[in-house]
Symmetry: C2
Subunit: 302 residues, 2 copies
Amino acid sequence: MPQVKLVEIGPRDGFQSVNEFIPTSLKTAVIDRLVEAGLRKIQITSFVSPKAIPQMKGARQVSEYVLTKYPAVEPFALVPNLTGAKMAVAAGLKEIGPVMSLSESHNMANIRRSVEESLEETKAIRQQFPDTKITQDIATVFGCPFEGRMRVEPLLELLGRLHAIGIRDFTLCDTIGVAYPKQVTEVFQKATAAFPDCGFGAHIHDTRNMGILNSYLALQNGASSVQTAIGGLGGCPFAPGASGNTATEDISYMLEREGYATGLDMDKLVATARFLQANVAGNYSGHHAAISAEFREMGMPA
Amino acid sequence: MPQVKLVEIGPRDGFQSVNEFIPTSLKTAVIDRLVEAGLRKIQITSFVSPKAIPQMKGARQVSEYVLTKYPAVEPFALVPNLTGAKMAVAAGLKEIGPVMSLSESHNMANIRRSVEESLEETKAIRQQFPDTKITQDIATVFGCPFEGRMRVEPLLELLGRLHAIGIRDFTLCDTIGVAYPKQVTEVFQKATAAFPDCGFGAHIHDTRNMGILNSYLALQNGASSVQTAIGGLGGCPFAPGASGNTATEDISYMLEREGYATGLDMDKLVATARFLQANVAGNYSGHHAAISAEFREMGMPA
């Protein structure tokens, strides 16, 4: 069976889209269920200024909780800069995800830095933490809410500069859900061909109902992992109207049918999506009802 | 620009999923908007017993309305049997879509006939109406709520028998939304290879969030058209829990980005989906908000 890594980002990207503060105990209760459902690589939080994103308060407690309770889980956190990276490493995390955007204006809106400054931050992070795994998030790869459609050439140039700094793992993000099949195919084919010593993940928002299709095509064209959020909870507060991640349970259903070994328990994923929906008000794009045990009890094939 | 035919089935499959009767004037008001948005091939109704499906009362009036008002539109109707075909032809329609299921038990539940009896009906329809275009709907091609996962060999056999009767156009339907990428690819590749003189359309329900992906793959593997419903309204009342068609506006967005000539006005499609949602309570699976003009005014790229 071919392997594919589903990277769960609900506790970061999903929660970040929610206005009302989610208590830390509820956050860890969701993570408990995600681990129980079989997820092993989880973006558990981000280390950002609580003024900028109050929802991420308690990042250290969440990190310590996961590190103490689940030695088999690979938790990682998003960090916008060196300060965040220091906090994440101090909390004990072995992997971090610095973020920058391909487009200047989104980078400025999102993390108040130029792309050049963000490159310097990643360089400093790489130098200060040589033993920490770094997976660089690149936002607005396919389109930017301020600059419109993005091209692949500037991406390849940015990847080259990050490669020169020593980065070998990347997540290419469709922050506002405007990617389309030919674009996803081109971006992943060219990125993986140009940087064969690197790993590429896909993070596709479901804003325009293209999340499953584009995630599928990313995997078909060289991506080794896809990021998804349980229930499809998500959005980017700095990209107006960009709501909805691709749902972990829906992608997982598709991958299982396709013959991938995901190691996930579908019923537990569905139960987790329902638990989240019952406890946290937000934008959900998953269709999990139809992959539930009750549905199968009605005679519906899996 | 490559052409692709979007076949609008909202006025039949969408409306059929709605419990409360939709007045004929509201039905034709939706059709007006669909035509105005650029749709030219529309399944406008079905000619069935009003006892079996009360929602389809007024099929003749709807047909006469469209035939009189829109000579450039190609309207067609679903018919479950010869009686329905006679009514459709009497109403003036030049194209009809007899329906049968690949699985015996769904055929019996849906139209109270064995597959053998349905073949006889299609044969009689073909013989009695040699000048009427016939596009045969085949339901439960990918899975059946009573018999589970379906295989491609019995489908090819059924296609062969229909071909021998003189049928050359088919719609392969994922009635309960259980198709997956490898299956869709195999079915369309094998069907188009085995019957090169035939046309194949795809009708994929979005029950498990695979509607866009599987419709895309059908087109990549030989389908010449896809059936969609405005707003994603839909479901099959005889397949428990099978809600949600693939949304016309979402597929149209994807196809436009891919460079297909659809001839559709996206803003008018979105307005029609909203009009329908505001006036008819049902299951909708479309994400149309994010492809609207307001969204673009917020600076979001198309």
